[in-house]
């Protein structure tokens, strides 16, 4: 832009200022402000519009256009060239002008965007800078601290080294002292030894001298006074000391030594023989074990069979050695030990194999076993824990209760209070219980009444039944001889005891009043066929009872009763239903009872 200024120096200073101000408009507002502050006179005197309007006047359109074009070209928008629509005219060619304006707007927007982004970035940067500064200061602090620490450590190290030095000095002095003491000890020891020797020599000399003196003095006192000499304990006479005796002594000594050695040798021989025996036995047993081990595998493994053969050979050798044991001890011993060693090696390897197998098996077992039992174990543990917890809780509760019980005894007031509370509560509870109890009592009472009633009813029923039976018996008795056909009829009825249904049906048509009764009978007789066997007598009785009124008019009382009962039934369906639930017999009884009650 600067370059541009130089070729247009002819422009008015006013215009010059304006252009500069315009060119600066696109800059940040702050800059604009600066520009404004730079040219306070301009800013104050005219509005921005006036400035623009001042830029292009009627007179300088062409210059303006060229200037704008130049500017656009410099901005890289050379393609659009603003032209005056008519040369010298004041109007512009709109399309390029608009295009240029659009381009400029675009550029402006882009710039604005970039500006925004830059501002944001700057903000970010500034914040990061701040952060950096902070961290920097912190690090500085740390550094300072560590430096201080380091110096402290240096100090302690120095001190420690000093201490070490002093201790080393001490050690050195101690060592010196020890050495000194040792030397002193050794010198003392040597001196003591020397002195002791000297003293001993002196003592020896003195003893010698004393002995000499004693001998020289021919001490008269030194004497033996025996009445008569004794014989030797072995009865022999004493001998003169001669070379012969000395040699005999030597001989005796050696003899005794020899006998001792012989004895010890004998003992050793015996021990040796025993050990050998043990060895042999061991060998035999090992061989036995090995052979039994190998025989089952022999077929499977060629090597083993080979080994077996080897061992057999050895066995033979062993036998041989046993035979030759007495003759050539050395040889036999060697053979024996060798074979034993071999067998032992085999046994050991076998044992090792077995061990490894066993350990593997053990591992297998362990791995197999461990899974299930562990779970079970854990379950059990969990259960136990639960139980323990429960027990603890229980114990705790009990303890609390105990304490509650015990505490009042210590504190009378609270005890009284608590007691009051308790008694109130207790009273409430007791009342409640009392009420319940009363209710129950009433219930019981009612039930008892029912029972007594039932018992009375039963008694009556029984009586009625007895009467019925008596009458029936009488009837039968009466029917026996004079009314043969009537009896047959009754017997045929008895035959059809199980097919009762037909009976009531026939009856249904005859008497309307009996319909309900028969139907009820049908209902309960059919679902309970098993009871037929149990109560044939009742059924029979019933039938006979029914037959009697049917067949004979001589029993009006009975029949009347029956009718009454049925009538009641008709009236009260509920009761009849209730009766239906009972047994066959109760139908009558109830009916009769109700009769009696009603």
């Amino acid at each position: 832009m600067g370059e541009w200024w130089t070729p247009v120096p002819t422009e008015t200073s006013m215009g010059n200022y304006d252009i500069s101000s315009i060119s600066h408009v696109t800059m940040s507002p702050s800059r604009q402000n600066n520009v404004l502050s730079m040219y306070p006179s301009v800013a104050l005197s005219k509005s921005s519009y006036s400035v623009i309007s001042a830029f292009c006047t009627e007179d300088n359109i062409t210059q303006c256009i060229s200037y704008i074009n130049q500017e656009l070209a410099s901005l890289g928008l050379s393609s659009t060239c603003i032209e005056a629509s008519s040369p010298g005219g004041a109007s512009l060619n709109t399309v390029p002008a608009l295009n240029a304006m659009y381009e400029l707007l675009q550029i402006h927007r882009r710039n604005m965007c970039t500006l925004e982004a830059l501002e944001k970035e700057q903000l970010k940067k500034s914040s990061s800078l701040e952060h950096m500064q902070m961290s920097n200061s912190r690090l500085k602090d740390q550094l300072e601290l560590s430096i201080r620490e380091k110096s402290g450590l240096h100090e302690t190290e120095r001190q420690l080294q000093l201490k070490i030095k002093t201790l080393q000095n001490c050690l050195k002095t101690e060592k010196d002292e020890v050495q000194k003491l040792q030397s002193i000890i050794s010198s003392r020891a040597s001196q003591y030894n020397h002195d002791a020797k000297r003293k001993e020599r002196e003592a020896a000399k003195l003893k010698e001298r004393l002995g000499q003196l004693l001998v020289d003095r021919k001490d008269k006192k030194l004497a033996i006074d025996v009445l008569n000499c004794l014989g030797r304990s072995d009865g022999k006479r004493s001998h003169w000391k001669t070379a012969k005796t000395t040699s005999s002594h030597e001989g005796e000594m050696y003899k005794s030594l020899l006998s001792d050695y012989e004895a010890s040798q004998k003992a050793l021989m015996v021990e040796n023989a025993e050990l050998k025996k043990v060895l042999q036995q061991m060998k035999k047993e090992i061989m036995h074990i090995l052979s039994t081990r190998q025989s089952p595998i022999k077929g499977a493994d060629a090597d083993d069979s080979h080994e077996q053969a080897d061992s057999d050979g050895e066995e033979k050798a062993g036998d041989c050695s046993r035979e030759t044991l007495d003759q050539s001890c050395e040889h036999a011993k060697e053979q024996l030990t060798n074979s034993i060693r071999q067998q032992w090696r085999k046994l050991r390897s076998h044992m090792e194999k077995l061990d490894s197998q066993a350990s593997q098996m053990q591992n297998h077992l362990d791995s197999n076993k461990e899974v299930i039992p562990r779970e079970a174990h854990e379950d059990e543990m969990e259960r136990m824990r639960c139980e323990v917890q429960q027990c603890k809780e229980f114990i705790h509760a009990q303890q609390q209760l105990l304490q509650q019980q015990l505490n009042p005894s210590f504190d009378d007031e609270t005890a009284a209070l608590l007691n009051d509370c308790y008694t109130l509560e207790e009273k409430e509870r007791l009342k409640e219980e009392w009420r319940l109890f009363e209710e129950q009592k009433r219930n019981f009472e009612r039930e008892r009444k029912n029972f007594t009633e039932a018992a009375i009813r039963l008694g009556r029923e029984k009586k009625a039944f007895e009467e019925d039976r008596a009458s029936w018996l009488k009837n039968q008795f009466l029917n026996m001889t004079p009314f043969t056909d009537r009896r047959r009829c009754s017997s045929s009825d008895g035959h059809s005891a199980l097919s009762i249904k037909s009976e009531p049906e026939t009856r249904m048509s005859s008497t309307k009043s009996r319909v309900a009764k028969s139907s009820t009978y049908a209902t309960f007789s059919t679902p309970k066929p098993a009871q037929n066997a149990f109560v044939p007598s009742t059924a029979e009785l019933y039938r006979t009872l029914r037959l009697i009124p049917d067949s004979s008019s001589s029993r009006p009382s009975n029949r009347g009763r029956w009718q009454e009962s049925s009538a009641i039934e008709d009236g009260d369906a509920l009761k009849s239903k209730h009766r239906a639930r009972c047994g066959d017999l109760s139908i009558f009884s109830l009916g009769e009872d109700e009769n009696s009650l009603s």
């Binding site: 002791a196 020797k197 001993e200 020599r201 003592a203 020896a204 003893k207 004393l210 002995g211 004693l214 001490d219 008269k220 006192k221 030194l222 004497a223 033996i224 006074d225 025996v226 009445l227 008569n228 000499c229 004794l230 014989g231 030797r232 304990s233 072995d234 004493s238 001998h239 000391k241 005796t245 000395t246 002594h249 030597e250 005796e252 000594m253 050696y254 005794s256 030594l257 001792d260 010890s264 050793l268």
Partner: protein, 449 residues
């Protein structure tokens, strides 16, 4: 168990003849010989002065009485009461006197160990052995009485002379590898001589009868060493007790250590039985009064004691020795094998009230006897594995593998048992007090049970 009445004695000089028939006791300057079975006085000899030593000859025919202060020896014959023999050592003095194994020679050690004088009762001949060493045990006869080993000191070196006792012929004379020989002892079979150095050095040397060095044993250095050495009756083991409170057992074939017995302050060995003597004053009951009218005086003042078996572990009272004094009271100073070599009894000096019994077959601790007071004398029954001990009180203690028992000695005036001796038959015990003695007869019937 029965007790005889109490007899007088002095200097605890009371010995049974080797054949077990006679009992010789010294009372001041008198020698009393009694019949062992009846305790009746058979002979009574009067010596020239108070007897300081008395010894039976091996054939039980003669008794030697030594009066060291006078340098005099008197020998008495049991068969011929008129026969007498007097040996005067003269101005040279006398410190020790003993019979030779044949019972016909007397060996006298003069003062300052100037020499050993050998007097023959057969020929009146006298011979001298020079340079005997003054030490713990410088002279020992082999068990069969054939040989005598004597430690000598010449030119600041130790030597051993082996004599044939028959005619005092010097059989061997050899220098030993010791700094300061302290003792020597023949093995019971008479073929090996064990020699040990003074306590300054742990060294045990084993020499053959012909003077060859068989083996040397040293357990440690720079510390006080051997305190006592004992052969087992079978010659199989050599037990060495030392200042480190241990007993080491050497075997007779390789002369190497086969076992080590430690005397610890706490007993944890579950195989060992610890018997603890418990004392308690007893109230005198009416039965006692009626039964033991005579002994009531003593029983009134004496405490009864019994053994209790302590549950392990047991803490044993240990006395710490004074390190500044010579011969510190620490270490094993007493060891004795039972007659069958099955058990070994030991005593550790800083646990003076405790006797340890070790099983030689299992090589382990068998029993521990913790007494209430210091053990004075311990001796094995010569026939059975039975141990008798005394602790200077009025009780006798007996141990056997079956158990332990303490017996009150019924006597007037508080008989304190200071020492004891078994009769060679093992049927009776001689209990020695300060000026009295008492015989204790074992109940043989009970023993059989």
């Amino acid at each position: 168990m029965n007790f005889s009445e109490v007899f007088k004695q002095s200097n605890q000089l009371c010995k049974v003849s080797p054949d077990g028939k006679y009992l010789a006791t010294c009372v001041q300057y008198r020698l009393v010989v009694r019949d062992m079975s009846t305790l009746q006085i058979l002979q009574l000899y009067t010596c020239l002065d108070q007897i300081s030593h008395m010894e039976w000859s091996s054939d039980s025919l003669y008794i030697l009485c030594a009066m060291y202060k006078r340098g005099l020896i008197q020998v008495w014959s049991l068969e011929q009461p008129d026969w007498h023999c007097k040996i005067d050592e003269g101005s040279i003095g006398l410190v020790s006197s003993r019979w030779s194994p044949d019972g016909r020679h007397i060996l006298n050690t003069t003062e300052f160990h100037l020499r050993i004088t050998v007097w023959s009762l057969c020929t009146k001949a006298v011979s001298y052995i020079k340079y005997p060493k003054a030490c713990q045990k410088g002279l020992d006869f082999s068990r069969d009485g054939c040989y005598m080993a004597l430690a000598e000191r010449r030119d600041c070196k130790d030597y051993i002379s082996v004599f044939v006792c028959d005619d005092w012929h010097l059989l061997r004379h050899f220098e030993t590898e010791t700094q300061d020989l302290a003792g020597l002892e023949w093995s019971p079979n008479g073929c090996v001589l064990a020699v040990w150095d003074s306590c300054l050095e742990y060294k045990v040397l084993l020499y053959s009868l012909d003077g060859r060095l068989l083996s040397t044993f040293s357990a440690y250095e720079w510390s006080l060493g051997v305190k006592s050495v004992t052969w087992s009756p079978s010659s199989q083991f050599l037990a060495i007790g030392s200042y480190d409170e241990k007993v080491r057992i050497l075997n007779h074939i390789t002369w190497k250590k086969i076992a080590q017995f430690e005397h610890l302050g706490t007993i944890n060995n579950t195989k060992a039985v610890v018997y603890k003597e418990v004392e308690r004053k007893t109230a005198v009951c009416s039965d006692d009064l009626s039964l033991h009218n005579i002994t009531i005086g003593s029983t009134l003042f004496n405490t009864q004691s019994k053994y209790e078996i302590c549950p392990l572990p047991v803490q044993i009272p240990v006395v710490k020795p004074d390190p500044d004094r010579a011969n510190p009271k620490i270490g094993v100073s007493f060891m004795a094998f039972s007659s069958d070599s099955h058990y070994l009894a030991t005593r550790n000096d800083n646990m003076a009230s405790v006797v340890w019994v070790w099983d030689m077959q299992k090589m382990s601790l068998e029993a521990v006897l913790e007494q209430t007071s210091t053990v004075r004398c311990v001796q094995w029954d010569p026939r059975r594995p039975r141990l008798a001990l005394c602790t200077a009180n009025s009780k006798l203690y007996l141990w056997s593998p079956a158990g332990c028992v303490s017996v009150q000695v019924p006597s007037e005036g508080g008989f304190q048992v200071l020492s004891l001796n078994w009769h060679c038959s093992g049927d009776s015990l001689i209990l020695l007090g300060k000026e009295q003695l008492c015989l204790c007869y074992m109940d043989t019937d009970q023993e059989d049970k």
